[in-house]
């Protein structure tokens, strides 16, 4: 494998890891506050559709992004109402949200565009274009560093840079601010937060809302940056992979970056069977390759990648004890 192949592979990794990273951080906020969320998938899907649909109708990708975030937030609120206000089962609520998104996106797409559940292809301002960072072209020919900068680091859409910037931001918010302290506390022991005079419900809704925003960006990235339009089921299980990455990351922001990059790499390798063949010397079954992220997830979940301790109050609705 030569250097340019490596760069290409990593470039692809970055693209494929971005939605995972955003969804993973979304899940991190929610689960750190004690709300399990297997509805990441659905929120991404809804956001992917609404951002593409609105971008296509309005011609502006930014309005599309706002719509995608709005759709994802709406589902977040549903999850919040079910699991915070009415103390329902968070897993069941998440399952429902995934179905809801899978159905409603196609239903509305068909109703609005009559194109069999997809949106029209986005043109021009309806898409997030790749950004060329300053100096990328100038140093493109410098060996090693040139391709690294101009191919790998430069040339992604703004959402990719936002996703990567979200990692330190999340870390800072979580560990350096009052909000972060309270958020972490509410996921560990909501009673402590409650008796300290802070609203558990308010904090959890805030966390769920942030989760909605990040999922919204992730979905918008899929349909308006990675692709030029929505097709049905285009989230394709990424929400679940993000969830697995979150566990692998032990609910920490920087680890989330590493683990989603790892899953992104699996995805990138899937498009390069030739590279795998040259690396391991045998031709790998296409199906095995496709199933690899899921198999890896199971292995990681089985604790072969180290035991992960989830937030102690995770998944449990908060009921004041009697």
């Amino acid at each position: 494998m030569d250097y340019m192949t490596l760069i290409q592979l990593l470039d692809s990794t970055v693209r494929l890891a971005t939605p995972l990273l955003l969804a993973c951080l979304a899940g991190l906020f929610s689960e750190r506050a004690g709300i399990f969320d297997i509805g990441l998938e659905g929120k991404m899907l809804a956001a992917a559709f609404f951002s593409a649909a609105v971008a296509s109708l309005s011609g502006s990708v930014w309005i599309g992004l706002a719509a995608g975030i709005g759709a994802s937030m709406a589902l977040s609120i549903v999850h919040g109402v079910a699991s915070i206000t009415f103390r329902g089962n968070q897993l069941i609520s998440g399952v429902a949200i995934n179905f809801l998104a899978a159905g409603i996106t196609v239903l509305i797409a068909q109703s609005w565009f009559r194109q069999g559940g997809r949106t029209p292809s986005l043109m021009g301002g309806g898409r997030f274009e790749a950004i060329t960072l300053p100096g990328a072209e100038a140093i493109a020919d410098v060996p090693i560093i040139g391709p690294l900068y101009s191919e790998l680091i430069s040339g992604h859409s703004i959402l990719v840079y936002m996703a990567f910037a979200a990692v330190p931001l999340t870390w800072w918010l979580l560990y350096r601010t009052r909000f972060g302290l309270r958020l972490r506390a509410v996921g560990e022991n909501p009673a402590a937060v409650d008796t300290a005079g802070v609203s558990v419900v308010g904090l959890r809704y805030a966390a769920v809302a942030i989760c909605g925003v990040l999922c919204g960006i992730a979905g918008a990235y899929l349909s308006t940056a990675l692709q030029a339009g929505f097709v049905k089921d285009m989230s394709a299980g990424r929400g679940f992979i993000a969830l697995a990455a979150l566990i692998f990351a032990k609910w920490r922001p920087w680890y989330a970056l590493y683990s989603t990059l790892l899953f992104g790499l699996f995805g990138a390798l899937e498009t390069r069977p030739d590279v795998i063949e040259s690396l391991i010397g045998i031709k790998m079954q296409g199906q095995l390759l496709g199933a690899l992220p899921y198999i890896m997830t199971v292995i990681i979940l089985a604790g072969f990648g180290g035991k992960a301790i989830p937030p102690r109050a995770g998944g449990e609705p908060y009921v004041k004890e009697r």
Binding site: A96, A244, A302, G303
Partner: protein, 371 residues
């Protein structure tokens, strides 16, 4: 003391939840610019207006009974089996192997053989996540989701590379021999002089599904194993105290659950398609979740809600056939049913409890007053 009488808990709460889901569904239909009343009419005529419609409704219901029971038994042990889909896929593989490679002399023997193979394959596919949960503490919800994806890849591999007849472009097996074709309801009812649509796929598996409901009811409420499963589901710490091994319960429950999900394949693969195609399960594994939630994990409730979902499915197919409303409408309705009967349960229960409490207080006062 319980706040609500039992009938309210078992019947009123799900019924109101269902009603809310129905109202919201109607709003969705309105929202996409269609007429909910007309849509419902079309669905009812299409699904229940003829033996043809019933044939499809019951065919779908059979699938959902199996997957609904699978989810239910796992719920009793507080295990959330989202892997019904993958287990049913593997069950299909078991059926295909049984039907293609064993020369059965009669369909009845083939049915038994195929059901055993389907159950076995489904059970194996559920046993791995179960073992991971019991021994490694991996969350069964996520592992079963992952196993759905892995099952799809595995089935794909087997169909494309191993079982596809030479020259065929379909990722599907060859057609099963005539001898293993299951009698449809048409065949079963004809001797009794009842005319039932010939082209509908409902078949003898429906009776197997009913039998499965009964067997599961006995298992859960009349056997020691069922007692242990329920005890474990209610309190793991108490189960440990009583000497009920969590490992054993998780494994056995998931094996039964997986076997039930797998056995769905005798209906859709052996009874209907008569060959194994990719995606033969069509999401029935997921619908099992809604069916189990609505049926309160009771076999009778599962039966009733499976029929309801069968109706929704067949009605939805008719809608897609005769109007421009996509079939995804059914997915939305299903989501709303899960949301309201499962996650937003308390939204209905809390006000109801308040009402019953107020009623009781008033009665108590009235009783005092009369003294």
């Amino acid at each position: 003391m319980d706040v609500m009488p039992k009938w309210a808990e078992v019947i009123l709460v799900p019924l109101i939840s269902l009603l809310l889901a129905a109202i919201l569904s109607a709003l969705v239909i309105l929202g996409i610019g269609e007429d909910p009343v007309a849509a419902v009419k079309l669905m009812v005529t299409g699904a229940l207006g003829s033996t043809y419609g019933w044939g499809y409704t019951l065919y779908y219901a059979t699938n959902f009974i199996f997957t609904g029971l699978a989810v239910s038994i796992a719920f009793h042990a507080r295990l959330f089996n989202i892997g019904g889909e993958g287990q049913a896929m593997l069950g299909g593989l078991g059926v295909a192997i049984a039907c293609l490679y064993i020369p059965w002399p009669h369909w009845s023997m083939a049915l038994v053989g195929a059901a055993v193979m389907a159950g076995l394959f489904g059970a194996v596919w559920a046993a791995i996540p179960a073992w991971l949960q019991a021994k490694r503490g991996s969350h069964i919800v996520i592992t079963t989701i992952m196993f759905n994806f892995i099952a799809a890849a595995l089935l794909n591999y087997v169909l494309v590379n191993l079982m596809r007849p030479k020259g065929s472009m379909d990722p599907a097996t060859a057609r099963f021999p005539e001898a293993v074709n299951l009698p449809t309801l048409h065949d079963i009812l004809a001797p009794f002089g009842i005319a039932f649509s010939k082209s509908a796929p409902a078949n003898v598996s429906f009776l197997v599904a009913i039998a499965a409901c009964f067997v599961l009811w006995v298992l859960i409420w009349r056997t020691r194993l069922g007692y242990e499963i329920r005890a474990y589901g209610h309190s793991e710490s108490a189960a440990k105290y009583a000497g009920i091994s969590p490992f054993k319960i998780i494994m056995i429950t998931m094996i039964i659950s997986g076997a039930l999900a797998g056995m769905m394949a005798i209906n859709n693969v052996m009874g209907e398609a008569e060959r194994l195609v990719l995606n033969s399960t069509e999401g029935a594994g997921f619908i099992g979740i809604a069916v189990a939630l609505m049926g309160r994990s009771h076999p009778l409730g599962v039966f009733i809600s499976a029929i309801l979902f069968g109706f929704l499915y067949q009605g939805g197919a008719e809608l897609a056939l005769w109007t421009t409303i996509p079939r995804e409408l059914i997915v939305v309705i299903q989501a709303l049913v899960i949301l309201f009967t499962g996650a937003l349960d308390n939204m209905v229960r809390m006000p109801l409890e308040r009402i019953f409490l107020a009623l009781r207080k008033r009665n108590a006062k009235a009783a005092e007053g009369s003294k």
